[in-house]
Symmetry: C2
Subunit: 472 residues, 2 copies
C-alpha cells in the first residue's frame, strides 16, 4: 500500500494540508538535498576541514531559513549544528538528531557516479540519486527538517517545541559528543529524542529500534610464572597460557549455545510475548541475516535466529593473541596470552555484576601459580524503550499510515553510543528510526537513495507529528 491508498479516515485536515505542502515543495527539497550531498563533509578529515565547515554553515543557514534559532558549536573535533524553536515550555519538547558527516569515499575509481556531484537517474522504476552521504545520513536528517518546514509553513508553528542536533563526527566515533552533551544539557533538554540514522525493515515496511543491548568490553590476560621459554625444552612441563586460555574460552558456551558462566542468566528479562510473536512473523517472511551464512554457528537452544540476535544476552570472543605471531614457525612457549571479549546484555542484567561473574569464572579455571588480569573498557546496560512510551506508538502509527504495513519494533545487537549518552545524561527516551535500506551501499562506492523514499520519509514524519499532537 502506498501513500495514495493509505487509510483516508486518518487524514485529518491538519495532515492533508501539510502533505500538500510537502508535495509542492518536493522538487526544491531534493535540489537542496543534492546541494548538501555535494559538500564533501568527510568525517575522517582533520578538525577545521573545509568540507565539514561548509556543511555546518549550510545547515545552520537551512535551520534559520525554516525558522529555528541556529548556531554552530565548535568541539574538539567537528562542530555540532544546533537548532531550537521558540517555546515557553507549554508544549512537549522534541529533539531530532541526525549527522551531516560522511564516510570517506575510498578509491574514486570504484565509483561509477561521482560521490560529490550527485545526479538523479531513473532506474528500476525509481528516481535514484547517487553520492556519498545520500543515504547515510544526509537524506535522513533532511526528512525530518523538510517535514518540520512544511508543517510550520502550513500551520505557522512547529508541531512541538523543537531541538535539532546535527552531529559532524558520527562516522568517526562521536568522540566529542559526550563532552558536548555534558556542556549543553539545558539546550538538549527534551521530552523525547528521535534518532534518525536507522533503517527500514524493507522498502515497504518501516521499523523502530526499541531494544539496544548493553555492552561490556573485557580483555583477559593469562600470566604464567615464567617469561617466554623454548617450547622444546619447557613445553612438556611448564604452563602454556594459550592452552589455559583456550580451555577457558572453550568452556564459556555449552553445546546448546548457552553461556556457562554461573548466574549469567539470573536477571535476564525474557523477550515479551508480543514482541516474540512479531519477530517470529518477521523470521518466517524475511532473510534476517542479509545473506550472511550462519553455518557452523551455535544459536542458543530454544530461540530463533532473530531472538538470539536482538533479545538474548551473549558473550563474543573478538580477538585472541598469544606467542608466535610471525609468518613462520618459532618454538616459543609464551609467558602470557590474552583475549578480548564483549558481553551484550539485555534488560535486567547489571554490567558490573556480570563482569564480576566473568572474573570468577575465569579465576576458577586458572591453575595455581598462574593468574588472570582483566582490563575493562567502556560499558553500559541494555536500553529497552518501554512498550508504554506514547511516542513509540505514535511514531509507529504514523509510519504505518504512510506505508500501510505495521511498523517493526526491532532490537539490535549493535551499540548506538549516542542513545546511551542521551539516555544517561538526559534521562530521555530515544526513538531510533530511519529509512536506510541494506541495498543503499552505505560506506561503499555508489551510495544512493531515491526521491520516492525521501518523499515517503517526509510524509511519515508529518503523519507522526499529527499522532504526537494526540498524546495527552
Amino acid at each position: 500500500m502506498n501513500n495514495q491508498s493509505a487509510d483516508q479516515t486518518d487524514l485529518t485536515p491538519r495532515i492533508e494540508s501539510v502533505l500538500a505542502e510537502v508535495a509542492r515543495g518536493e522538487d526544491a527539497a531534493i535540489r537542496k538535498l543534492l546541494d548538501l550531498i555535494a559538500i564533501p563533509s568527510v568525517s575522517s578529515e582533520a578538525p577545521g576541514s573545509e568540507g565539514i565547515a561548509r556543511a555546518a554553515i549550510w545547515l545552520r543557514d537551512a535551520l534559520e531559513d525554516m525558522g529555528l534559532q541556529a548556531r554552530i558549536v565548535e568541539t574538539e573535533g567537528h562542530p555540532v549544528v544546533l537548532g531550537a524553536s521558540d517555546g515557553d515550555g507549554s508544549r512537549p519538547r522534541m529533539l531530532f538528531y541526525g549527522h551531516y558527516d560522511v564516510q570517506p569515499t575510498g578509491p574514486l575509481t570504484d565509483w561509477t557516479h561521482p560521490p560529490f556531484a550527485p545526479t538523479i537517474l531513473d532506474e528500476d522504476g525509481l528516481r535514484r540519486f547517487y553520492g556519498r552521504g545520500a543515504s547515510d545520513s544526509k537524506s535522513q536528517l533532511w526528512t525530518f527538517l523538510e517535514a518540520l518546514r512544511a508543517w510550520k509553513t502550513v500551520h505557522g508553528a512547529f508541531p512541538a517545541e523543537i531541538v535539532v542536533l546535527l552531529e559532524g563526527e558520527e562516522e568517526s566515533g562521536s568522540a566529542s559528543l559526550p563532552d558536548f552533551i555534558a556542556r549543553h544539557r539545558d539546550d538538549l533538554r527534551c521530552d523525547i529524542a528521535f534518532i534518525c540514522d536507522g533503517d527500514m525493515w524493507s522498502r515497504e515496511q518501516p521499523a523502530i529500534t526499541t531494544q539496544l543491548k548493553g555492552l561490556v568490553h573485557e580483555k583477559v590476560t593469562i600470566h604464567t610464572p615464567h617469561s617466554d621459554l623454548h617450547s622444546g625444552y619447557f613445553g612438556p612441563v611448564a604452563a602454556n597460557p594459550i592452552r589455559i586460555l583456550s580451555g577457558i574460552l572453550a568452556g564459556i558456551h555449552d553445546a546448546d549455545g548457552r553461556i556457562a558462566i554461573e548466574g549469567f542468566y539470573d536477571d535476564v528479562q525474557e523477550i515479551p510475548d508480543k514482541m516474540r510473536d512479531q519477530w517470529r512473523h518477521l523470521s518466517a517472511s524475511s532473510d534476517v541475516t542479509g545473506g550472511v551464512s550462519l553455518e557452523g554457528g551455535v544459536i542458543e537452544r530454544g530461540y530463533s535466529t532473530l531472538e538470539a540476535m536482538w533479545g538474548r544476552p551473549t558473550v563474543d570472543i573478538n580477538g585472541i593473541t598469544g606467542g608466535n605471531q610471525g609468518p613462520t614457525g618459532r618454538s616459543v612457549l609464551p609467558g602470557t596470552a590474552h583475549a578480548r571479549l564483549t558481553f551484550r546484555l539485555v534488560a535486567g542484567q547489571d554490567p558490573d555484576l556480570l563482569r564480576a561473574r566473568f572474573h570468577a569464572f575465569v579465576r576458577a579455571r586458572v591453575p595455581a601459580g598462574c593468574r588472570a588480569e582483566f582490563e575493562g573498557e567502556g560499558y553500559g546496560p541494555a536500553i529497552v524503550l518501554s512498550q508504554d512510551n506514547p511516542y513509540l506508538h505514535a511514531t509507529a502509527r504514523g509510519f504505518e499510515a504512510e506505508w500501510g504495513n505495521p511498523t517493526v519494533l526491532k532490537g539490535t545487537g549493535g551499540a548506538i553510543p549516542l542513545v546511551h549518552q542521551l539516555h544517561t545524561a538526559l534521562s530521555v527516551d530515544c526513538i531510533v528510526v530511519g529509512f536506510i535500506l541494506g541495498s543503499d551501499a552505505i560506506h561503499g562506492p555508489d551510495e544512493h537513495y531515491d526521491v520516492e523514499r525521501f518523499g515517503a520519509g517526509v510524509r511519515a514524519w508529518v503523519r507522526a507529528f499529527a499522532e504526537y499532537e494526540k498524546i495527552e
Copy 2:
C-alpha cells in the same frame, strides 16, 4: 675428582705424553683462543662482513698450522671453514663440528667487560675470561682443535682421519648449511660426527646428548563461511573461529597431560629402563629446569619432569591469532583464526602419520560449513643414538676419566638442525657434546668461560681419542 686424581690405571703412555703436551701448550692455546674471541664475527652481520671474514681466515690458518689441509668455502651466507687430514681410508674417519660465529653483543653498556677485548680475571677460584663467544662457541671448537694439535705433536699423526667443519651461521639459523652439506658430501664423509656445541650437566659432570626429539611444525587455520562481521549483530548466531579453535586446542590434552589425538602414542618407544634410572637419579640430585617455575604446568601423569622433557612426545601450542589484535576493543566477529603448534616426537613416531592424525583430530571438531586449513613447515623424526654405538661409550668413558663422574646421557626437547641434516644427508651418527654451563651468560652480556674448564675439555678429548683407538 679432578684430573690429578683421575684413575691412573687408565693412563697409557700414549695419553700421558699428550696430556703433558696439553699442559705445556696451555698458555699458548689460551692466548690464541683470546685472539679468536677478539674477532667480532657477529652472525647477524651481512654476508661479507669483516669480522666473519677475519675469523674464517684466522681459523683456516690455525687448521693449516696444525697440519690439516684447510680452505674457506663461500656460501650464500657466511663461509664454512673446512679442514681435512691426509688419509688412505684405513683408519676411521671422524668429523668435528664447531661454529665460529657469535651472537650480537646487545647494548655495550650492559657489559662490564668489553665483548671483543677479552681479558682473564681471577674470580671465584677460577681464571675466568670474558667476551662474546667465550663460551658459545669459540672455546668449544678450540678444545677439540687443541686436543688434535697436541696428539699430532706427540704422535706425529692425528688419532684418526679427521674432518673439521667450522660453521659461520649457527647463531642465525644455519640457512646455508643444508646446501653446503649437499654440495660437499664427499668432503664430509665420515664414520662418526662429533658436534661440539653442547653443555655439561654441571661443572663436575660431563654430558652427551643421545636423544633428539623429532619436530613437526603445523599451522592450522579455521575458516568460517563468512568474512569479518559485526559481533554485536552476528556474534549470537554465526560461527566464531576463535571459539572453534579454542575448543580444538583445549581438547588436545586431557586432565592427565596425555595427548588425546587418536593413535598419538601408538608407536612411541618407551624410555629405556637404564636411561630412566639414570634420569631419576639426576632428577633427585639436580634442579633440572634451571630455576624456571613449572607452576600451572601439567606434566604427563606417570612421568617425571626430566622424562617428560627428554623422553616423551608432546604437542605444544606456540602461537594463536584471531580477530582484534589492536590495543583497544573492537566488536569484530572474525572470519578466520589460526594457531601454530609444534609436535616433538620420540623414537618410533612417524612425522607424516602424526600430521595426518592431527588433521583428522581437528577436522572431526570443525563444524559443518567451516573448514580447517593446514600448513606444515620443516619437520623430521626423532634421532636416538643407538646405545650400542661404540663412539658413544668411548666418549663417555674418556669424559668420565677426566671428571671422575659418570657421563650423563641426556635427551633434549630442542632441535639441532645440523644433526638432523648430517644424519639425513650422510647417514652418520652424531655425538653431541660440549662444555657450556648455564651460568656462562651465553647470548647475554658478560659471556664468560674459564681456563680450568678449557683445560679439562682439551684433556677430555685426548682421553676420548685414546678410547677411540681401542674400538675394533
